[in-house]
Symmetry: C2
Subunit: 206 residues, 2 copies
DNA sequence: GTCGAACTTGACATCGACTGACAAGTTCGA
DNA sequence: TCGAACTTGTCAGTCGATGTCAAGTTCGAC
C-alpha cells in the first residue's frame, strides 16, 4: 500500500482540480482552446475565475500541467539507468514512462484529442516544446554527471550529450506526429521504436 | 542591382522598425525582457504603445521576429538542394544560411547577448522553439515531396523524415548551447559541424 | 464541545499584452 | 490642388494573470 490518506484537504483539492480540468477539456474540445475563456471554465464549474487560477497557475497548465510530474519521474528513471548503458537505450527506456499514458486501455480516447489540440494550438505547442526543453536541460546535466562519475567527463562546450538527447526527443515528437497521422492506430510504444531506429548516435557510450 | 528604391514609405517603415527594435534590445539587455514594458519601449522611441504594435505584431517579435524571414530563405535553400543528396547534408547546408548572422564580422557582439536572452527567458524560448517547429513542419513537407518526386515516397505515417529533420535541429540547438557555453569563442559554423557529427541518420537517402 | 490558527473563497482592483474604432494629420499622385 | 491612401494618437475594451481583503470553513489542541 502506498500513501492511503494524504490529508483530506489535499484529497479534495485533487478532486476539484480534476473537475476543473475535465470541464476545461470538454470546452476546449467543443469550442477550441483560444476560443475558451478562463471565465467560461470557471462558470462551467461554478466558481470565480480567480479560484480557477488558484488550482492552475496558468491556462496552459489545464492541458499540459500534468506533464511536469511525469517529467520528474522521467528524470528519476534516467538517473537510475546503469552507467554503462548506451545513451540511446537509456533515453528509450526513459520514454517508456510516457507509454502507459497513451497505450493503457481506454487511455487513447483521452490522449488522442488532447495531443491534437496541443499540436494544433500554437501557444500550447510552444509551451509543450518549452517543457520538453527544460527536461532536456535536466537530462543533459544528468548524463554529464553520469559520464563524469564513470571517469570520462564531457567538456563543458561539448555538444554531444545535448545533441543526442535532443535527437531522442526529436524522435519522440516524430513518433507523436506519426501516431496521430496514422489515426492513432497501433501502439504509441511501437511508434517510438520506429522513430528511434531512423537516427542513431555516432558513438553511444562513455 | 536588386530593388534600389522599394518605395519611400516602405523604406521609412523599415527605418522606424529598426529604430524600435534597437531601442527594445537596449532595454532588454539593460533590464531584462519581462521587466520591460511595451510602453517603456514606446516611450524610449517617443511614440504610443499602439504604434509599436503597428510595427511588431507581438512583443516577442521584437526579438525573434526577423527569424521568420530567415526561415523562408532556409526553406528555399532546402528545396533547391539536389534530390539525390543525403538528407543530413541538405540540412547542414540549410543551416549555412544562419551562419553569417553570427559569424560575420562584428555580428557576434549582437548575436551573443540576444541568444542569451532568448535561452534564459522562458516565454522567448518557447516562441523560438515553436518557430523552429514550424520550420521543421515545412521541411518535412519539402523532403516528402522530394522523395515522392524521386519515385520513393514516404508513407504518411512514416516518422523517418521528421525524425531526421528534428535530429538535425536538435544538433543546431546543441550547437547554440555549446557555442554560448564556450563564451562564443570560435565560429558558430564549427559548432554546428561538431554537433552534427555526434548523431547520424541510419539510412540517409531515398 | 470550543476556540483560534490555517486554509479557502469570492469580490474587487490592477497590470500588461493586445485589438478595434475613430478622428486628425501627413503624404502622394492624378 | 484636391482627394485617396497611409500614419498616428487616443480611448476603450478583452483576456490572462496577480495582489489584497474580508468573509466563511475546516481542523486540531485544549
Amino acid at each position: 500500500m502506498t500513501d492511503s490518506q494524504p490529508d483530506l484537504r489535499e484529497r479534495t483539492r485533487r478532486a476539484v482540480q480534476k473537475e476543473i480540468a475535465e470541464a476545461a477539456h470538454a470546452l476546449f474540445v467543443e469550442r477550441g482552446y483560444e476560443e475558451t475563456t478562463v471565465g467560461d471554465i470557471a462558470a462551467a464549474v461554478g466558481m470565480s475565475q480567480r479560484s480557477v487560477f488558484r488550482y492552475f497557475p496558468t491556462k496552459e497548465d489545464l492541458i499540459v500541467g500534468k506533464f511536469d510530474l511525469v517529467a520528474d519521474d522521467m528524470l528519476r528513471v534516467l538517473r537510475e539507468r546503469p552507467a554503462g548503458e548506451p545513451v540511446w537505450e537509456s533515453m528509450r527506456r526513459t520514454f517508456d514512462l510516457l507509454v502507459p499514458y497513451v497505450d493503457a486501455p481506454g487511455r487513447r480516447q483521452v490522449a488522442e484529442p488532447m495531443q491534437r489540440i496541443v499540436f494544433s494550438t500554437p501557444t500550447l505547442l510552444a509551451g509543450y516544446l518549452q517543457k520538453l526543453q527544460l527536461l532536456q536541460d535536466a537530462a543533459d546535466t544528468a548524463l554529464r554527471e553520469r559520464a563524469a562519475a564513470a571517469g570520462a567527463p564531457y567538456r563543458a562546450g561539448d555538444p554531444t550529450p545535448r545533441a543526442i538527447i535532443g535527437a531522442a526527443f526529436a524522435c519522440l515528437l516524430a513518433a507523436q506526429h506519426a501516431w496521430l497521422a496514422d489515426g492513432a492506430e497501433g501502439t504509441f510504444a511501437a511508434a517510438i521504436d520506429r522513430a528511434m531506429t531512423t537516427v542513431t548516435p555516432v558513438t553511444d557510450m562513455r
